[in-house]
Symmetry: C2
């Protein structure tokens, strides 16, 4: 099973094109200004931690210093370089959607700068080159050296594929070779791994584009080495004579935080830092596929189940606590203290995508869709200029202001963060959204997402043109035109798990199809302009969580199609905890083109608890008055679109009678 | 209005005598071993913070070093001395319950040691004397110097009153004089205050026993100075040329944490560190009374209302978050992440007691009782050897283990803590429990608590003997025998706010009485052996919280008399969140002498949600199956007695149909 090359997919979708346009026209230029300290904005800290450098980015400046063009010291996080790499990756994807000479020139200049910053032996990391040459690869628990390298390699592959220019790929290979010389089973090499997974993803991509087996082998090495010696990361720190930390606070974390508590293939639960975990799984799934290692793929499935069946929010968010931005335990999904980092949802999309390349199963596609339409894009404001790190399911502005345990739960998306991982991560995902629509093998084109596009893909030696037209996610009707060149092959359509009733026609006639693991398989000889119509019934659903999810017990979340909804104070007044949905609610859906740039809003008759005057100033009472509720028309809006109007309360899980 | 001297009150109560006995016979000797590093126990950290010194106490050793008897450095918290002082105070109270020559000798030796550790000018603080002479009074934000002094003064007054020996009082006066020379409005003195209120309490007590007006004036000064310059604490740190902190982490807190954000009399809400807040209020109420300052008493009432009507748990616990162990905002009372420090509840008892000395009002007595019978004594195991800092209202052992945001919520009481404030604070409160039973003015004896005792109190020049007999808190029947000496006076009986029906008889006959502000006033000429019988109907009550308390909405807490109940896994199985109480529950109460050293347990027919098999591994589902519940007999135990059997879940607030 393989991807379709991004440049062969032209997204024409109303919903996603807008995002892609903002990213290309606003976010990428804006981010460029930030990276060059030219954006006149306040950069926010993710937390109230003053040890975090947030005054400026300095990311490009660091490269200039490392390149010898300027004098000075490195500034910012030790992983500041990755901001530039993620920007470059987003640029690369954006360039596949249409020429932009100016942008391409800027990118070429950055690549030149990166080349100059690279050391002769291929080593590339401005922090160490500028200020800590003697500490290279000595403090992998905190250094993020291979993490940054992984991001550069991902960017270089993307840029090479978008432009055909191979300079960037040469830098990447030189870097990968440097890492290969330093890490591995062989004597004299470091038997270890980075504290933050990412290099493994980069290496699989580099292998795919260069076909150089060494890179796959090295990626596989990092996967198998991880957790073999669970004490590696800490021991390395202890062996370093220079005790000065590179990243403050990292030292407190145990091996589990880094997914290094046992060999990956022995891990059975999603543990530690959520982003690290999904990056690890993304690479694991790809290495499993590329090397055909069954043990690895089995581990993927076990970890997939752990994260998606026990530890994932209904929005596709992951990471139940801010402390360590990590997983906690099964069914622990608090709605107002969680982390649900945008990057973690993005990573879950990567993981799902790579699982789909192993096996086309609805469980992977469903999560991919859930995460993308909810917890990923909630990370960005509708204007594309403000971003959430943390994507809560329940917000009370008073709590965010006054409860230090919720100070990470922002009510408003800030413009930029000191640790700028999430916005560029979103940028690269949104510009490459096309990549997630299809996969194919020799016989079959799999359609995982319903997004209008025009694509060409090689099947049995022919270029097959596939065109999708849909008003998804607002309508469940999907028209697919296949230019089938009279070839016999299969088109597999994902039937989303939220859909209880659907209908498939080819050229307006019912057809035979098989349904397996969430996909409907239509096999036939496809002629030119064959039309497939998939009609998914999009009903409003009341979603219940497993009763062991304490925080959602007795509540429902409203979902329609792939979109999870929420109540906002703006539409429903405050004290949302006093609202409940009675039995047998009638939901009314209406597309409102004026609301939040056009969304289907859902209205329902709910009930709101009447706080009687006799409560007055009392805090507790033993009076057993009957509870009284008043009818209240509720307006639900898509979760991703919350916090785009006035500050106020929000909640996804609503009490249900 | 005034206290009755503790030595004139002989507590004969079944419930409390047990506590007093354990404190005297087990806890005080045990604590002495800890203070001398002779207890063979593991001292726990309150948090997972490795910066906290917890390996040993070293408290007595610090005094030996400061006294010049040994060589070495100070070890432990900067406020380690206060552990010794609180121990001494508990010893003093314990000695009023009966002679103990050995204990008294140990105390005398400690006093000698303290005298030797005191500097010539009266300064007393081992940390500074040993290791930081030049930093005295220069870093009050973190130094706790006046806090420790306050504790010593409290202990000295208690010891003097218990034994009549005035050596300790002389040390205290010398210390107070030293502080008086260093702090005040006059030029050349420090215009400031301690980061942790406590000296103010000590000074009011020292004034009461010495009648030296200077001490009251100094106490009043600290009250009025606080918050006048809200930047004082921080400025002092900035002015210190030596930037080395004395207590790591304190620096991050803003003025509000220290109740220094505005002058105390202008403060309208309970803010900042909860223990600091109640200590401040305790002193404020006493200074208001002793100086007759109306503005101060009005401030007390405003702050009383803020804390008890908006920010107090049903158990009498306070402090809604572990981060800063502090208040957050109105109606924010999360049950599983809160702090509810034992010391804060003890402080709330002090505050209530001093409010009662200003004005006999039920609202004060009710909170005093609530806090004492619930959140205070839950701080101690039934064996008196294990202690909670944090008194949660909802516990899941998995969360305590796996969620770093709940790691402070212990499932088991540890033996001792590195920061040992709570156990000795409880010890001194329990040994002086008699002090809280009565107050009196010229005309009236007020009975605030129902605790069996035999006391004598001077009224109109006569020693009146009052004897209470009761099986409180299990039974609401109270017999009071008054040896009235034919005097006309009033006995005021508090009618607890939990009591909806009561009955008062004198010599077995109905009498006339007036009820005002929660007290029943019986005025008459009292003869020898007059018998007052108060019969309070003790029913099981379902307590609701104000609907704005989000975390308790739709739930009830079970209370009977002053005792708040809870469900424990031990009696009710796990997944307590699946349990609800139907409408019209019949509660059955039964005294079980075998259970938890004898408690009234409450049984009720509840319902438990049936988790259907079809959930299987699903995390979310849109199936709209009817919710099914099975009947389940629930056993409620007193909240204070939880965590005395096997580890497991616990919750106070139970869902109510």
């Amino acid at each position: 099973m393989e991807d379709i090359k991004l440049k062969n997919i032209k997204v024409t979708d109303k919903f996603w094109s807008r995002y892609m346009k903002i990213v290309k026209e606003d976010m990428i230029p804006f981010q460029w200004k930030v990276l060059n300290d030219e954006a006149n904005i306040i950069i926010e800290r993710e937390r109230n931690d003053k040890s975090i450098p947030a005054e400026k980015s300095h990311a490009v400046e660091n490269f200039k210093i490392a390149a010898g063009l300027k004098k000075g010291h490195h500034y910012g996080y030790v992983f500041q370089d990755s901001d530039v790499y993620k920007w470059l990756e987003a640029v690369a994807y954006a360039l596949t959607t249409g020429e932009d000479k100016k942008l391409e020139k800027t990118a070429d200049e950055v690549i030149n700068l990166i080349e100059m910053a690279q050391e002769d032996d291929g080593y590339l990391d401005t922090y160490f080159t500028i200020d800590a040459k003697e500490r290279k690869f000595k403090r992998l628990l905190e250094s993020h050296e291979l993490y940054c390298a992984g991001h550069f390699i991902e960017a270089s592959v993307a840029y090479y594929e978008a432009t055909g220019k191979d300079k960037v790929l040469k830098i990447a290979c030189k870097l990968a070779d440097c890492i290969d010389r330093n890490f591995g089973r062989e004597e004299g090499k470091i038997h270890g791994y980075d504290g933050h997974e990412e290099i493994e993803i980069g290496l699989t991509k580099l292998y795919l584009v260069t076909k150089e087996e060494r890179y796959l082998k090295l990626g596989r090495y990092f996967i198998t080495e991880r957790g073999k010696d669970s004490g590696f990361l800490r021991k390395q720190l202890e062996e370093d004579k220079n005790k000065q930390p590179i990243l403050i606070g990292m030292n407190n974390f145990e091996a589990e935080y880094f997914q290094a508590h046992k060999p990956i293939v022995k891990q059975e639960t999603a543990e530690g830092h959520a982003v690290r975990f999904v990056y690890m799984c993304t690479a694991l799934a790809e290495v499993a596929r590329l090397t055909g290692t069954k043990e690895m793929y089995n581990a993927c499935k076990v970890l997939w189940d752990s994260v998606t069946k026990k530890r994932m929010y209904v929005t596709g968010g992951i990471g139940s606590t801010v402390m360590g931005e990590r997983f906690t335990f099964d069914y622990d999904l608090p709605n107002d203290t969680m982390y649900c980092e945008t990057c973690a949802s993005v990573g879950l999309v990567f993981f799902a995508h790579n699982m789909l390349k192993n096996e086309p199963k609805g469980i992977f596609g469903d999560v991919l869709e859930r995460s993308l339409y909810n917890s990923c894009i909630s990370g960005m404001s509708l204007d594309g200029k403000h971003f959430f790190y943390v994507n809560p399911l329940e917000v009370d502005p008073k709590a965010s202001e006054r409860d230090p345990g919720k100070s990470h739960v922002k009510v408003k998306r800030p413009a930029w963060f000191g640790c700028a991982c999430c916005p560029p991560n979103l940028a690269r995902t949104l510009t490459s959204i096309g990549k997630y629509i299809y996969t194919k093998d020799e016989e079959t084109i799999y359609t995982h997402l319903y997004i209008s596009n025009e694509s060409s893909m090689n099947l049995k030696g022919e270029e097959i043109i596939v065109k999708q037209e849909t008003d998804y996610p607002w309508k469940g009707n999907v028209n697919i035109t296949v230019d089938g060149k009279d070839k016999e092959f299969t088109i597999a359509l994902r039937i989303p798990n939220w859909c209880n009733k659907y209908d498939i026609k080819v050229n307006e006639e019912a057809v035979k199809y098989d349904v397996l693991d969430g996909y409907a398989y239509i096999s036939r000889k496809w002629e030119d302009s064959d039309k497939v119509n998939l009609n998914l019934l999009m009903e409003v659903q009341e979603i219940k969580a497993n009763p062991y999810v304490k925080d959602d017990f007795g509540k429902v979340a409203i979902q329609r199609g792939p979109i999870v909804y929420c109540l906002e104070q703006e539409d429903n007044g405050k004290d949302l905890h006093l609202i409940k949905l009675p039995k047998n609610v009638q939901y009314k859906c209406e597309f409102d083109s004026e609301l939040l740039l056009g969304v289907v809003k859902i209205k329902a008759r709910g009930e709101k608890f009447i706080v009687k005057d006799d409560w007055g100033e009392s805090l507790y009472s033993s009076d057993d008055n009957e509870d009284l509720y008043e009818e209240k028309v509720l307006t639900f809006i898509p979760y991703y679109s919350w916090a785009n109007r006035n500050d106020g309360e929000m909640r996804v899980w609503i009490k249900k009678a």
